[in-house]
Point group: C2
Chain length 395, copies 2
């Protein structure tokens, strides 16, 4: 079936096992799908908007209540929804970062954090990762100290990815936050790969901002996300407009500057809300997700020459694998070259790995069933054996 | 039927005639609804993302082609999709407006334009409206001249609403753009109430930026919108990231700073795309929409004491009505007070007017059928007569 304009309808999730690194946590729940159908129209949540005119005050549908729940979900005091985690980074950077200000990022920071800093005119400084690709507090302390010496003042903001996009590793967030606070540097936790799939408690981690992605990890449509913070920081990042029309004297009430007024006025928010009760439950089952991921990891590492580049044992379902001495050797002589692997997987109904990638690649098993994980594991072993790679039981 | 979390499914559009001022142009087309169902999952458009990794380069679904079509649709050279018109304002203000810079707005500018200026640190100056509530070029010239004298330099940007949110009036855009360009001031057209419902040709209007709203006027889910510009300005507002990881040396390719990388990675964009062929057609039928609006206007103005505050004859379907000497007089003694009007309308299946409003209010007939327009017209007359207001044929 097609829509107009040459759009093929999408059935990737229905017809395949999708292990795409970024898509796993954003698949809608059935309730979200219902909400999406019902709230598809543009400003669909504004039917009952009244004074004060702001998205997070609407009670029908229960958007106000949802905002309280969201804040509580990540252990913070206040929350807003935003059009993607990146717009949360932009809001925080817009509040704290001025032209020429030093900002701490890490060697594993996502590109959208860099762009948020660039957009605000800040100067990014990376905290290095260690040999295990972990960002550690001692490295953070050293780098903050160095930057403070160079600039004659501490950095204005520190970004730390709870789990990074490259390795899916968990970093020393709590310890880094403590170090940053010693220098009075506010700490932004990028929870794009954690909020909505594993338990996250911002207060216990000691961070000032928790940012999550709806379409990456909260079973919500794009673009959606959340920005949660403490009561203290809320006054800064959620400051209301002070501007005034110089002729008309118009002022604009309680609209928030960094939110640009209202943010998600329809389908994205409603999808997020409808999934939320399921999301609250699923984070409690994170251990099961790790176990399923290990089924695939064990299969992969039993293939000769295959190494996992992420920290081991795995603590997240996003994993970086190095097959440059296994599947890539096959690619050298295979008539399909590097495409043999994605092609063989596709034939078995497994999608989401970059076509042509046989050296270093990532996959994410989040949300697949145990039976599917076993099927994926078996598929990799079969493809290895069919192509002359030897397979030995995992150590 | 309910989703989880206490969400009632929405049937406002199916069960009623909705004349809400902001919702009329954002109702989905049937094709958009299909697309929404199919592309509800988070990053649903990213299945075939490849080098270069950016939303507007994706060919399957045909997102790249859609971007070209969008630019052509408003007579500009390049376009990007954004999470709402306001995010387009933010991108342009972020590019041109620095701290303390004078910026031209108007007495009828939407609050999101003010907030975009505030967010960038600019100082807003309003161009006054005339007695007919129209923004005219002579007023613009005077105010630009005044601001230029005061600051010792011209304003850095001028916002003009093609059609404003208060009266639904059409302003002297072409002439204002000419005046602004005499001072080398770039001109941003806020087409939130025009792009997608009436023909808009940015090049012919002589503006530098055309911004449209998907959820307000392009039959698309929220948040969505577009920012189109000339080749020359595209280099500025769509500049790519230049930032670099100071330790890792990482750079971030062709991601655009003001777009924060990719913008609408799923359902919002696909809804917009699926509606687009219908939107391209419907703007040609703008005259019919005006006619339908006049059916309701004629009825309202035939009620004693009722006045239209928008320019007459109407050239837009959003209209501001003053019933402080008609329906509001009824409200004084009615047992439901000011709620009698919205309540009586609701009983007749007409929604979208603010409950309790009987003095000055707005409505928008866009997209209703001729029979529905006649029904709405008759409903107002009936309510007037039932409440003792005399009705005389329109002059």
């Amino acid at each position: 079936m097609k829509c107009t304009g040459g759009i093929d309808l999408r059935d990737v999730e229905e017809m395949n096992i999708n292990i795409d690194p970024i898509q796993a946590g954003g698949r809608l729940t059935a309730d979200a799908m219902k909400a999406v159908i019902s709230y598809g129209d543009g400003y669909s949540v504004c039917d009952n908007c009244g004074k004060p005119f702001r998205l997070d005050y609407i009670n029908k549908p229960p958007i106000a209540e949802f905002h309280e729940d969201l804040a509580a979900f990540v252990g913070m005091d206040q929350a807003r929804v935003v059009p993607g985690a990146r717009r949360g980074f932009q809001a925080v950077a817009g509040t704290y970062v001025g032209k020429g200000d030093p900002v701490m990022l890490t060697a594993l920071s996502h590109y959208t954090e860099f762009i948020a800093v660039e957009n605000a005119g800040g100067i990014p400084h990376e905290i290095p990762k260690d040999a295990q690709n972990i960002i550690r507090a001692d490295a953070a302390a050293e780098r903050i100290e160095e930057v403070t010496r160079t600039f004659g003042r501490p950095p204005v903001l520190l970004f730390i990815d709870h789990v990074d996009y490259q390795f899916g590793n968990i970093h020393e967030v709590r310890e880094i936050a403590r170090v940053a606070h010693d220098y009075d540097v506010p700490v932004l936790l990028n929870g794009a790969y954690t909020v909505g799939i594993m338990p996250v408690d911002g207060k216990s981690l000691g961070v000032d901002f928790v940012i999550g992605s709806g379409h990456k990890s909260m079973a919500a449509p794009a673009p959606s996300g959340m920005l949660a913070t403490t009561s203290e920081r809320a006054e800064e990042v959620f400051r209301t407009t002070q501007v005034k029309g110089d002729l008309t004297g118009r002022t604009f009430g309680i609209k928030e500057v960094e939110m640009m007024g209202c943010t998600l006025m329809g389908v994205t928010l409603m999808g997020m809300m409808a999934s939320f009760p399921h999301v609250q439950e699923r984070v409690k089952r994170w251990d099961e997700e790790i176990e399923k991921s290990r089924i695939v990891i064990d299969a992969l590492t039993s293939i000769e020459g295959t190494a996992v580049r992420s920290e081991m044992p795995r603590r997240h379902t996003l994993t970086r694998v190095d097959t440059s001495r296994s599947f890539d050797r096959v690619a050298e002589t295979h008539k399909k070259r590097g495409f043999f692997l994605s092609s063989a997987l596709k034939k078995k109904g497994i999608v989401g790995v970059i076509p042509g990638a046989t050296k270093v690649w990532k996959f994410n098993t989040y949300g697949i069933t145990r039976a599917q994980a076993e099927y994926v594991a078996a598929a990799y072993l079969e493809i290895a054996e069919e192509n002359g790679l030897s397979v030995s039981p995992a150590e």
